[in-house]
């Protein structure tokens, strides 16, 4: 990725391996994510893509190799600290918080940094009121920016599937993270919803120019359309990487992955 060297690296990992028992879910992964760039990770089911995310967000500790985020080595950190450093993610199966409304789901992302104590909360003191207003304004602003404000009072899990996916993304974006990791955002959507999602993501790229995005996706059209750079994974190994046009003409990829798609 010579052309990106002048930009800051948001995330990079060297020789990353993750074994479960004897299974190598991630094998010697080297990945650099520069600022403001969208990177796609594609590959068949079981290629270890979600495992990569789980290592980056510190749900798993890698077997070997190093990960650094925003210039800092995060090997010894836990999920909470990297999240607070500006790594946001969505999940493969929607994991919105069931007991909360759309607005509250978005507010929750801001809550850990809220500047009032439990004592101030129970006595309903002025600082709490001020902070709550700030959090609510920020959440509403993000929802409005993403055109989701008409749903803010609905219970999050009562929305249609496609909208839930967007709320999940809004929830991740509200903290203005440095890196957004999307895990199969288009899974389970119908073609029309996929188009909406692509527009939605393009809109996000416009709105947050400094934001780096990682996308795991099966749908080639979406990845080709959005990403600046693509990694192709198979059985934990990177079998190819390059720009979308390079990937589309790469013979290994065509054989391993795109070929299957054509047969369908």
């Amino acid at each position: 990725m010579e052309k990106c060297d002048n930009k800051n690296l948001i995330l990079s990992c060297k020789d990353l391996c993750m074994n479960f028992g004897g299974v190598k879910a991630v094998d010697n992964l080297n990945m650099d994510v520069p600022e403001g760039i969208t990177i796609g990770i594609i590959g068949p089911n079981g290629a270890g893509k979600t495992t990569i995310y789980n290592v980056f967000s510190r749900i798993y500790k890698q077997t070997s190799g190093t990960v650094s985020f925003n210039g800092q080595c995060v090997d010894a950190m836990d999920q909470v600290s990297v999240a607070r450093m500006g790594l946001a993610r969505t999940f493969q199966n929607i994991r919105l918080f069931a007991g909360l409304s759309v607005l509250d789901n978005v507010k929750v992302s801001l809550d850990y940094a809220g500047k009032y104590t439990i004592a101030e909360a129970v006595f309903h003191l002025p600082r709490r009121r001020k902070e709550e207003r700030r959090i609510a304004d920020k959440a509403k602003e993000t929802l409005k920016l993403l055109n989701l404000d008409s749903y803010s009072d609905k219970m999050a899990i009562s929305l249609p599937y496609g909208l839930q996916k967007m709320v999940e993304i809004a929830r991740a974006l509200v903290t203005e993270p440095k890196l957004l990791m999307l895990d199969e955002p288009a899974a389970g959507l119908n073609p029309e919803e996929v188009l909406q999602l692509v527009d939605f993501l393009k809109e996000i790229k416009n709105l947050y120019p400094g934001l780096s995005i990682l996308v795991i996706e099966h749908r080639m059209d979406l990845v080709m359309n959005l990403c600046d750079y693509i990694y192709v994974q198979n059985f934990g190994e990177t079998i190819a990487k390059g720009t979308p046009s390079e990937i589309q003409t790469n013979p290994t990829v065509l054989a391993a992955y795109l070929g299957e798609e054509d047969n369908e």
């Binding site: 999920q79 850990y112 809220g114 909360a121």
Partner: protein, 297 residues
């Protein structure tokens, strides 16, 4: 109202305070504690025994009692909340048993299972209890609506997702558990002041279980539901006083009736009577309007 009726209301209020503490632990943070009665034991005994032995004012010893409740909760929470949920439930239950036997062990100071009764009479105890109950409900309500409440509900639904939004699940749980245990302790002190005698049996394991039953009956996520059911179900045995079944007074069946109620609720209305909903005046007005509209059309 006569003394008997005032007594019933005071009992119900104390039960409301207990259930609010369990509400904070279970409905907000998703933990299942079976040892809340133990914190009532700690606070009540420390408050009254110290007050008698050292001739200190009750308000001071009560502060010591509440502090001790919080400290014990902290000691239990630190090793257990790192582990899976079941450990927490089992260990709080074990803690309850341990407190009961400590009371018997320290018979010299606590009078053991006969009960400790050197409790001073407090003027206008009724109003103290009612005011405390209202204050506790207000605190819990504010807690639920604050950032802490939201974070708790988030971690209850999905811990992994909550962590990925920067919520420090472990420390938040500890905080919430300590606060709730202090509230339980408060209920213990009020119980002592009202009954003027405390026994280890009064704070038994069954009381901890009863709180959970009241909570689930009212609605697993509804503070108002929990408050109403705690108040009402505590009065229920009094309504059964004059009924007999198989020659046994129905009051004897109190626990059985509670349990049958909760089994029915779990089977047919798993989210409890009020479910997620809170009852507030504005909501009730809206519901009334809807109903009027329906009747007109």
């Amino acid at each position: 109202m006569n003394n008997y009726q005032l007594g019933l209301i005071m009992n119900s209020c104390i039960s409301v305070i207990e259930v609010v503490s369990v509400f904070i632990i279970t409905s907000l943070a998703g933990m299942f504690s079976l040892g809340q009665a133990a914190f009532m034991t700690i606070s009540a005994y420390l408050t009254f025994v110290l007050a008698k032995m050292l001739h200190l004012p009750i308000i001071l010893t009560a502060a010591i009692g509440l502090g001790m409740s919080g400290l014990c909760a902290y000691i239990i929470a630190v090793p257990t909340l790192r582990l899976r949920k079941d450990y927490f439930t089992l260990i709080t239950m074990g803690f309850g048993e341990m407190m009961a036997s400590i009371v018997v062990m320290l018979e010299k100071y606590t009078k053991g299972s006969i009960g400790f009764s050197s409790i001073p009479k407090v003027k206008s105890i009724f109003w103290i209890i009612v005011a405390t109950t209202i204050a506790v409900i207000f605190f819990a309500w504010q807690l639920k609506r604050s950032r802490f409440g939201r974070m708790c509900i988030a971690l209850k639904t999905d811990e992994t997702a909550a962590k990925s939004f920067g919520i420090d699940v472990y420390h938040l749980k500890i905080k919430v558990y300590v606060i709730a245990s202090c509230i339980s302790g408060l209920a213990g002190i009020l119980y002592g002041l009202k009954n003027r005698v405390i026994t280890p049996d009064g704070f038994s394991w069954n009381l901890s279980a009863e709180m959970q039953i009241f909570l689930f009956f009212g609605g697993t996520n509804s503070l108002t539901g929990a408050v109403i059911s705690a108040f009402g179900l505590k009065l229920l045995p009094e309504m059964l006083r004059n009924l007999t079944l198989f020659g046994v007074n129905m009051q004897e069946y109190r626990t059985v009736i509670y349990c049958l109620l909760i089994l029915l609720v779990i089977n047919f209305r798993p989210e409890g009577m009020l479910g997620d909903k809170e009852m507030s005046p504005s909501r009730m007005v809206r519901a009334m309007k809807r109903r009027l509209k329906r009747e007109k059309s």
